[in-house]
Amino acid sequence: MSQLIVPTMAELMAKGEKADVLFWVGCAGSFDDRAKKITKAFVKLLNKANVKFAVLGTEESCSGDPARRSGNEFLFQMQAMSNIEVMNAYEVQKVVTACPHCFNTLKNEYPELGGKYEVVHHTQLLKELLDDGKLTIEGGSFSGKKITFHDPCYLGRANDVYEAPRELIQKLDAELVEMKRCKAKGLCCGAGGAQMFKEPEKGNKDINIERTEDALEVKPNFIATGCPFCNTMMTDGVKNKEKEEDIQVLDIAEMIAQAQNL
């Protein structure tokens, strides 16, 4: 495996250079073992397409999404304002992130606090690179396989991004099968609104199990995700159903990278 090239904003600045796009890694992408694999897969694709990007590295801090969704507006705004200060200091114009929660927060909620950037989800950037001919996608081991895409709430309903991830999946030469609840009607994985970090309330089922059942119904070989939290939830769901031998849960960036053995 070739070495990942991951410059930081500070390093580029020291060299008198500037990145075209800031890759906002997010907390899950930085610390969660499963999500780190997604981060690396995405970096491989960025490297392959020669994108001049950089990360904030140790200068990045939680976007504040879980704080805001759970009502801690103080904490959210503290996080937002200090992140904005850092990004503005680097004169960031464009941001890409593989986390729909960071995506939503940076895109919609930072502007009011002084952080105005063009923010895209990683599937949107990959789609752009593909359209510009900077990235090629081949089917590889995914050719002819059945893939279903689980819409992250904060990418889909919250921001109306439905097509970019789907177009990428289709480029894998795979059969995209839709669950009965998809796009605007997609069911939540159960992680949003800071639920990821707490036990669910009393009920008769966990939400991720309900959603995994939706996916199992269409008998996919892969469940594609576009969010590190959905990924965890769906992976747990598949394990709970003892289907991990037959069904793999992968982020779209991982699929594209794996298909070309990056």
């Binding site: 590295g57 939503n104 309903r157 919250a158 921001n159 939540c188 966990d206």
Partner: protein, 434 residues
Amino acid sequence: MIQQIVFLVLLIGFSALFTVNIRQIKKNINLGKDVDRSSNSKARWKEMIRVALGQSKMVHRPIAGFLHILIYVGFVIINIEVIEIIIDGVFGTHRVLSFLGPVYGFLIGSFEILAALVLISCVFFLTRRNIMRIPRFWSKEMKGWPKTDANLILLFEIVLMFAFLLMNASDSLLVAMNSSYYTVEFSTPISQYFIPLIGHLSEVNLILIERASWWFHIIGILAFLNYLVVSKHLHIILAFPNTYYSNLESKGKFANMDSVTNEVKKMLDPNIDPFAITDDTTPERFGAKDVKDLSWIQLMNAYSCTECGRCTSECPANQTGKILSPRKVMMDVRDRVEVVGKGIKKEGEGFDDGKSLLDSISIEELWACTSCNACTEACPINIDPLSIIVDLRRYLVMEESAAPMELNNIFNNIENNGAPWQFSMSDRLNWKDE
């Protein structure tokens, strides 16, 4: 003459009552905090025409949506008839619009067909609500008044349509008899089927039936207008302003709390001594504990709610057995603002019954929400239950420090090391070399 006077008294009485009632509701809605939703009126008109007038979101459930549109169109168009009834009532005329000639006959004929369609739809809806066990009509919050309310309206519509058809049937028989007063011919595509029922009656009895149906029709409509104010059917009026003032921004964007922004800026600015400033920009309360802490939009949402339960049936928490139901949240807000509104009317601005919204909406409901926006997406009139849930959470967290323990842990972690987990910020780039 006496008829005309009685009519005028009723008309004025009911209209005055209606005005008073609507004013009170407007007052109650204005108990909410001010938010500015005046911008972008072009997009707002469009949204209103699409969602309220065009009922674009109703048809996501095609059968119910289609029948609802029938009832709605029927209701609106047949009400053109009411204009005629009012003129007739005031001036003692009979079918005053008949000067339209053949057009009039055709109009009445099409009203009859619509009336029949409305009838069929109402019967279907009654069956669906009471016999088919559709879960969203049988949940806890639908017990008692909400269920009665829904059935009452449907029954009422049915009776009203019958009265309309019976009126036409008796009228057309009187015309055929050359009865002195009844001279206007019109087409009777549906009411002709009532003729076997009343065809044998004498002229006097027919006139009695015709007059009774006429009076029933107009009194019914005036009463209906005043019934709206205590019913979920207020949506036939409020759906319009409610969709006009929809949230036009991305659903994922939560409203910024400017009061907090001021505080945070003070904290982050090293040049300001936070204890030295006392200003009055600080609100008396962060987040919402009671209806007065919500915005007027949220209160209007509550009054507009149709109690259809589409939000609840799409809610992931509700589907997996949690007690959260976004419809119940809306109903609780409406019930509470009614109580507070009445209280203020009686006791003045200082009204305090020691209760709040949190007495009806429990903490368990609030923390079950994943903020997924399925409810706002599903709502046929763009109501936003999520914003209320978040405002109540804000109160719990910022005023009561009453977040679940696990969330308090992540707050600490985020504050101290910039991530919800206990990792050091200096390790944030370690993944690169792992």
